[in-house]
């Protein structure tokens, strides 16, 4: 099933859960304007009552436990998934569920004791998934940071506090295992998502989940996700840089992400290790006064399997190593519409048109404002 079809079905199913209305709809509409003068007062009363209820809720004794600075793992249970080369430990009173083993192997739900059988479980989730995707995807919501597990695996952590959820995602480099069901060895990652709509659950469990992440281990050692260095080195003419012709907006629209991959052109399998550079230039090819300009990063992968896949006319992002740069505060006054030149050794460069820093119509990037902060460009993550 395509993602579009799945979204259609989920939206239709969600809307089908419609409860009865709180009041007679047409009569309510008729009264609506007459009620307006008292609406503000009613809202104030509701706010005060809700604040009192909320305060009482957070002060309930069983939810007022102080935060631990560390989480001891004595007595924790070990879970092993040999098919996904995955092992982790979790508290004995938690439950590990596999929501759909057939459709989504390698996906587990970790349920803390308070949520077993509780209605709040639907909006408080801990998911652990193992999949064939590169560990650096597009998790640049909120604040991102890099780290390493005790076993040495690199991870990208993204923390976000949204309107309704607090969320942390760890995306862990799980190497390039050659699993039994695969003809090829592909990059894999393990992803742990903690998402809660209830603050007390967040306060109680985010350190526990962070500790579970630190227990992640590989029963069998794997090759690096960036490829097989024993393969012949890729030569110029075997590959080229590609840009998927789209922009992304990390950290709102104050930052614009320029990301892409490489396309295999010809030749046998090879190992690519190259430095990719991004230069932010004006129309005459002069570097613009942006901190970190030009930026560079190391790109390493095997070709052709590591190349950026193209599907239905679109480049697919997230399943291979990619080059990624972020230009923060790109719309500061004094910066013209830039030309972004991406280059790599031996293969020339591609030109990415910069966004209009003062757009005349709504569109991507039109929410960017000069906030008086320095304009910077850097590789990501």
């Amino acid at each position: 099933m395509s993602i579009e079809d799945r979204v259609r079905r989920v939206l239709a199913d969600a809307a089908a859960t419609e409860p009865p209305p709180r009041r007679a709809p047409l009569d309510s509409v008729r009264r609506r304007r007459r009620r307006r003068p008292v609406l503000a007062g009613a809202v104030a009363v509701v706010l005060v009552l809700a604040a009192v209820i909320g305060l009482a809720a957070v002060r309930r004794p069983d939810r007022d436990r102080p935060l631990p600075s560390t989480v001891p793992t004595d007595g924790w249970v070990t879970f092993t998934d040999t098919a996904d080369n995955l092992r982790f430990r979790y508290p004995p009173d938690w439950r590990v569920e596999q929501p759909d083993a057939r459709e989504a192997p390698g996906t587990y739900r970790l349920v803390p004791p308070e949520l077993v059988g509780a209605p709040e479980r639907q909006r408080n989730l801990v998911y652990l998934t193992s999949g064939r995707r590169f560990w650096v995807g597009e998790d640049w919501f909120g604040t991102t940071s890099l780290g390493r597990l005790p076993g040495g695996q690199a991870y990208l952590r993204a923390d976000d506090t949204g309107d309704r959820y607090q969320r942390t995602t760890w995306s862990v480099d799980w190497g390039r295992p050659c699993l039994n069901d695969l003809q090829r060895c592909l990059p894999r990652s393990v992803r742990v998502d903690l998402s809660t709509a209830d603050t007390w659950l967040w306060d109680r469990y985010h350190l526990v989940v962070a500790t579970i992440v630190t227990t992640l281990a590989q029963p069998q050692p794997t090759a690096p996700s960036t490829g097989d260095v024993s393969l012949p080195a890729c030569q110029p003419g075997q590959w080229q840089l590609v840009w998927p012709e789209e922009y992304a907006g990390p950290r709102g629209e104050q930052g614009t992400a320029i990301q892409g991959g490489v396309q295999h052109l010809q030749g046998a399998r090879c190992h690519l290790r190259t430095t990719v550079r991004l230069a932010v230039e004006d129309a005459a090819g002069r570097l613009l006064p942006v901190q970190g300009n030009p930026a560079s990063m190391l790109l390493e992968m095997d070709l052709p399997i590591g190349g950026l896949p193209r599907e239905s006319g679109s480049w697919v992002i997230g399943v291979t190593p990619m080059w990624r740069f972020i230009w923060d505060e790109w719309c500061n006054r004094g910066l013209p519409r830039a030309t972004l030149r991406v280059s790599a050794d031996g293969v020339g460069s591609i030109t990415v048109p910069g966004l209009d820093p003062s757009p005349t119509e709504p569109g991507f990037g039109s929410g960017c404002r000069d906030r008086g902060q320095p304009s910077t460009v850097h590789a990501w993550p």
Partner: protein, 176 residues
């Protein structure tokens, strides 16, 4: 006045519930959805002498709902009220399991513009040009929002959709 207008009654009977469902998909909250749908209907009623002559009065009502939703997002106080209220009493939520739950939660976590574009495109089944008209943005912007939203959903469903892509890629590479 439209109070006893049979046309408005008929319009209301046919369109209130779909509007309420759209409101729910935008907010994830049936109470907010009902408020949005009622506000949209109240304003449509106020403008009914003019709106009744439109080819598709529901487009007017839906646009009111979308604008109202956008205003709600800007009003942190109202959001806070709903957040607090939702903690004190259990809200009605879809009883999803497995990946559908992940999709639903991911949809709720999308930026409002991306979520709105996806709901209008894939639930209301509007063409991109109509979505653009309803949201007051260029078609290219709708394409971008939809694309980015779906990309995030794919990212959340990585194990399934990454496998699909790589399978197809591997087939392509095997071709002479």
């Amino acid at each position: 006045m439209a109070r006893d207008d049979p046309d408005f009654r008929e319009f209301f009977a046919g369109e209130f519930w779909p509007l309420r469902r759209v409101g729910f998909l935008l907010t994830g909250d049936w109470d907010q959805a009902e408020d949005l749908a009622q506000e949209a209907m109240a304003r449509t009623w106020a403008a009914w002498p003019r709106v009744r002559g439109y080819d598709r009065p529901v487009a007017f009502a839906r646009k009111v709902l979308l604008n109202r939703h956008r205003s709600l997002l800007r009003r942190a106080v109202v959001e806070a009220r709903h957040r607090l209220a939702s903690r004190s009493e259990e809200r009605s939520q879809p009883d999803f399991g497995g990946d559908d739950l992940v999709v639903w939660q991911a949809l709720q976590g999308l930026p409002a513009r991306q979520r709105t574009a996806i709901v209008l495109r894939y639930y209301v089944d509007l063409p991109e040009a109509e979505v653009a008209r309803q949201l007051g943005v260029p078609v290219g912007t709708v394409k971008s929002w939809t694309h980015r939203g779906l990309a995030r959903l794919r990212d959340r469903l990585g194990p399934i959709y990454a496998d699909e892509r790589l399978t197809s890629t591997a087939r392509t590479e095997a071709d002479p």
